[in-house]
Amino acid sequence: MRVLTIAVYGVLVLAAVVLTVLAHRRPGSVDGLGAVLDRGLASRPARVVVLLLWLWLGWHFFVGATVTP
C-alpha cells in the first residue's frame, strides 16, 4: 500500500512534467504553468491564496510540526 501511495504522487508529478514538456514542444496545444499563473493570479483571491499556500509550505516544513507525532 505504501508503494501505491508513493507511486500515485509520482504519477501526478510526472503528469505535471508531461504538461510542461508539451507546452514547450507544441505551444499551440497547452500553456505552461507560468502562463496559466500569469492569467490566474491577476485576480486578488487567487494571488493571495497561491502565495498563502507557498508560505504555509515554508512554515509547515521548517517551523511548525511537519508530521503528527
Partner: protein, 196 residues
C-alpha cells in the same frame, strides 16, 4: 474606468471564482484544526476572512504596491531562506523569518495589478483546467493519505503523506538546503506572476 474598477467588474462578473478561491484556505484551515495545529489554521483562516470581507466590499481599496517593494521582498525571501538553512529547524529564528516574510508578502500581494480584460482563448481555459486538475489531485491524494494514516503509526507508514516523505529529508543539512532553495525560488517566481 480605473484599473481597480475594471478588476472589480471582472470579479463581480465571476463571483463563483471568488467563492471557490476563498473556500481553499477555509478548507485548508479546517484540515489544520483536524491536525491539531492551531497556528497553521490561523495562517489560513485569517486571510480567508480578509478575502471574504474584501469580496463583500467591507475593506478599503489598497494602493498599488511599488516595484521597489517587490524587489525588497525578493531580497527578504533570500534572507529568510538563509535563516532557514543556517539556524536550527523549527527554531524561533525560523518562525520569525517565515512569519515576517509572510506578512510582507501578503501585504504586497493584496493590491491588484493594472487590469487586462482580454478574452481567453479556448487553449487558456483548457490549460487552466489541466493544471488545476493536477493540483487538486495532489491535494486530494495527500489529504486521503493523511486521513487513512490517522489511526496508527503503521497506518501512517502504509499511507504516507508528502510531509511524512519529506520530513526526514528536511532533517538533514543537505536536504534542507535543497528544500529551502526550492521553496525560496518558487516564492521569487510567484511574487511577480499575475503582474506581467
Amino acid at each position: 474606468m480605473t484599473s481597480a474598477g475594471t478588476t472589480e467588474t471582472a470579479t463581480l462578473r465571476r463571483p463563483w471564482s471568488t467563492v471557490a478561491w476563498v473556500a481553499v484556505p477555509v478548507l485548508a484551515g479546517l484540515v489544520q484544526l483536524l491536525r491539531g495545529e492551531a497556528a497553521d489554521a490561523v495562517i489560513f483562516l485569517v486571510p480567508a476572512l480578509l478575502l471574504a470581507a474584501d469580496a463583500a466590499g467591507a475593506l478599503p481599496k489598497p494602493r498599488p504596491s511599488p516595484l521597489r517593494a517587490r524587489r525588497l521582498l525578493a531580497a527578504g525571501t533570500v534572507v529568510a531562506g538563509l535563516v532557514l538553512i543556517l539556524t536550527p529547524r523549527h527554531g524561533t529564528a525560523d518562525a520569525a523569518a517565515v512569519g515576517l516574510l509572510g506578512l510582507a508578502v501578503l501585504a504586497a500581494a493584496w493590491p491588484d495589478p493594472p487590469a487586462r480584460l482580454e478574452e481567453q482563448p479556448r487553449r487558456a481555459r483548457r490549460s487552466a483546467v489541466l493544471w488545476a486538475t493536477i493540483a487538486v489531485a495532489i491535494a486530494a491524494w495527500e489529504l486521503l493519505a493523511f486521513l487513512l494514516g490517522l489511526p496508527s503509526a503503521s497506518a501512517s507508514f502504509r499511507h504516507p503523506a508528502i510531509s511524512d516523505l519529506l520530513d526526514p529529508v528536511a532533517d538533514t543539512a543537505g536536504g534542507r538546503v535543497v528544500l529551502v532553495t526550492a521553496w525560496a525560488l518558487a516564492g521569487l517566481a510567484l511574487l511577480n506572476r499575475g503582474r506581467r
